[in-house]
Amino acid sequence: MTLSSKRALLRLAGWSTLAATAALVGCGKNEEAAPAPQAQASAASAPAPKPEPLKIAFAYVGPVGDGGWTFAHDNARKALQAHFGDKIQTSFVEKVPEGADAERVFRDMVSQGNKLIFGTTFGYMEPMLKVAADNPNVKFEHATGYKRAANMNTYDSRTYEGAYMAGVVAGAMTKTKTLGIVGSIPIPEVIRNIDSFTLGAQSVNPHVKVRVVWVNDWFNPPKETEAAQSLINGGADVLFQNTDSSAVLQTAAKNKKYAFGWDSDMSAYAPEAHLASSVINWAPYYIQTTQDVLDGKWVGNKASWWGVKEGAIDLVSISDKVPAETKAKIDQIKAGLKDGSFSIWKGPIVSNAGKEELKKDEVADDKFLGGINFYVKGVEGKVPGGK
């Protein structure tokens, strides 16, 4: 009896481990999307000897329905297809796991005749680099990375500009002078967004405090909900997030507080609580890149970092609750970013440990922005793993 029940328990434990492993593998499974319907269209238009359409493939890390990061990329893909019509033929594969599986997907895309391939997450960097080295006649574009090659470029968007503008709105709307941020993973990009949000809020409300709670995940709605609730319970009345779902916004709505949309326009999820959405529009970059390829002007080893100036970042769907003067200020900021007369990261900027990171009137260059690993004054606590 004892022995058999012990054995049963051991077996249970063994199966549970297996279950967990299988679940992980299961999560990472990749569902190949059907090729875009344009395939039929181009096949049907056989009579006129048209040039072969340029085949373009996209690899996404999430499902196109995430309502945030991947959704924004796929909207841009659709805009790209609409812009060039039958001159190009786009397709995508969603939920491609970062790492070795991605390499297989890229090789597949190459073998299907795609001549331009976009990879939309940081973790595709090494696999893409490998596949690029083997296929010099295919052009690769990698989002958010830093390694390049003769046939591989990197591109990114200045999300911190959206974070800054959201901060301006938050600073104008807070009554408790306490703002809360649900952070995803403490990497420079996210810390830069937290700092920029804080700088924006301080530009209209100098004594505002910012609290950060990390969930260590890009996409985990229940955890995001819990983190948002804890910030609200701690006195924050305007929330901001660098995670990918609308959970934070909806938690704010439930508590009659305010929050923002991130990456995509999230106003529809919680109209009462939604103050504005900081959106990324990848379409201008995709259109420009495709145009370059069509014109034979595409060059490798290039890094692009687009923001408000290029139409890649915007603050949209600003709520009616936001005062007109704040809206006017947002318009000023956008205009300033466009003509280069305004810089978000301009000294004096002091870290919350009291160190002067930028001297008066010193403007941060992209290298500085790429390595931010400190909280600015006004953010509580320490950067995880930082000094």
Binding site: S5, L9, S16, V213, P222, E226, G234, A268, P384
Partner: protein, 306 residues
């Protein structure tokens, strides 16, 4: 003091999803069936509940749809493992993977949908008591229903004749069979009831807790609920306490972070899982606890002819 009250409230809310699913799985396991498909059932129920709530505007119909979805999947699982004698663990895993894929497929058009904004619920008369009100009496009715359900299940298992039969089926199906009880039908009923509860838990998640649908939103809570039943040595009240403990540790990590406690957030994220392992080890070391409570025929198929 007020923020402590809110921590308690958030803990109750976070623990409720785990408790409902854990109680459902406890019914299964008391009848001798391990259903590793909890995660999949919760996911399918989450989309079923969410879609129903979107179309009808009623949260309670959403719960009903979630329960129905969970029960249907569990019934399919039951037919496989009880009548066709397939391996319970393999079938459960298959159910879990199927649920994840199917819910994603069924939910394609619901990722952009929204429910009406959720308000707070108040228990009349009690919600305004200082400290106690905000801590305990401003929760969704489902939180209180879960507590009542725990008591009802404990009564059923230990005080009712039907509960005794259910436990007998889990301990020694041969004996129960010899006494003339329809072992397979009883196991089937337990599996369906357990699936329905997992379904309610999934619907609570997508309709109330995080009112939206996104792929994979259950995010491992089904697996935690499975661990909870062992954690609780198959006792309903301990499932509830375990769920609150787990919910509490989950919430605590955010509270500590929000208060600037100098612990790496990655470590805090690990805490709930660490707590589970520590308690599991502590319980497993005590052979009497395990032997006294673990259904002796857990996970074993039953052949009426043998």
């Amino acid at each position: 003091m007020h923020s402590f009250a809110l921590l308690i409230a958030a803990t109750l809310n976070a623990g409720t999803v785990l408790a409902i699913a854990g109680l459902g799985l406890l019914i299964n396991e008391r009848a001798g069936i391990v259903n590793l498909g909890a995660e999949g059932m919760m996911l399918v129920a989450a989309i079923a509940g969410f879609a129903t709530a979107v179309h009808t505007g009623s949260d309670w119909l959403g719960f009903g749809a979630g329960a129905l979805a969970g029960a249907l999947l569990a019934a399919a699982f039951g037919v496989l493992v009880i009548w066709l004698n397939t391996n319970q663990y393999a079938s459960g895993l298959a159910l879990s993977l199927f649920g994840a894929g199917f819910s994603a497929f069924a939910g394609i058009n619901y990722t952009q949908q929204k429910l009406s904004e959720r308000g707070q619920f108040h228990v009349p008369g009690l919600a305004d008591i200082p400290f106690v009100g905000p801590a305990l009496f401003r929760e969704h009715p489902m939180v209180y229903i879960t507590i009542a359900l725990t008591a009802a299940l404990a009564w059923f298992l230990y005080r009712s004749r039907a509960g005794l039969v259910l436990r007998a089926v889990g301990e020694s199906p041969e004996s129960a069979h010899a006494l003339g009880y329809p072992v397979r039908r009883i196991r089937m009923a337990a599996v369906v009831a357990g699936g329905a509860l997992c379904g309610v838990a999934g619907a609570y998640l997508s309709v109330i807790y995080t009112p939206l649908w996104v792929e994979g939103m259950v995010a491992g809570k089904g697996w935690i609920a499975l661990a909870l039943t062992t954690f609780a040595t198959w006792r309903p009240a301990r499932v509830l306490l375990g769920a609150y403990l787990f919910g509490g540790v989950t919430m605590l990590q955010f509270y500590l972070q929000g208060r600037g406690v100098e612990i790496p957030s990655q470590f805090l994220s690990m805490l709930p899982y660490l707590a589970t392992i520590v308690v599991l080890v502590a319980i497993s070391r005590n052979a009497i606890w395990i032997r006294a409570n673990m259904p002796a025929s857990l996970g074993k198929p039953f052949f009426p002819g043998s």
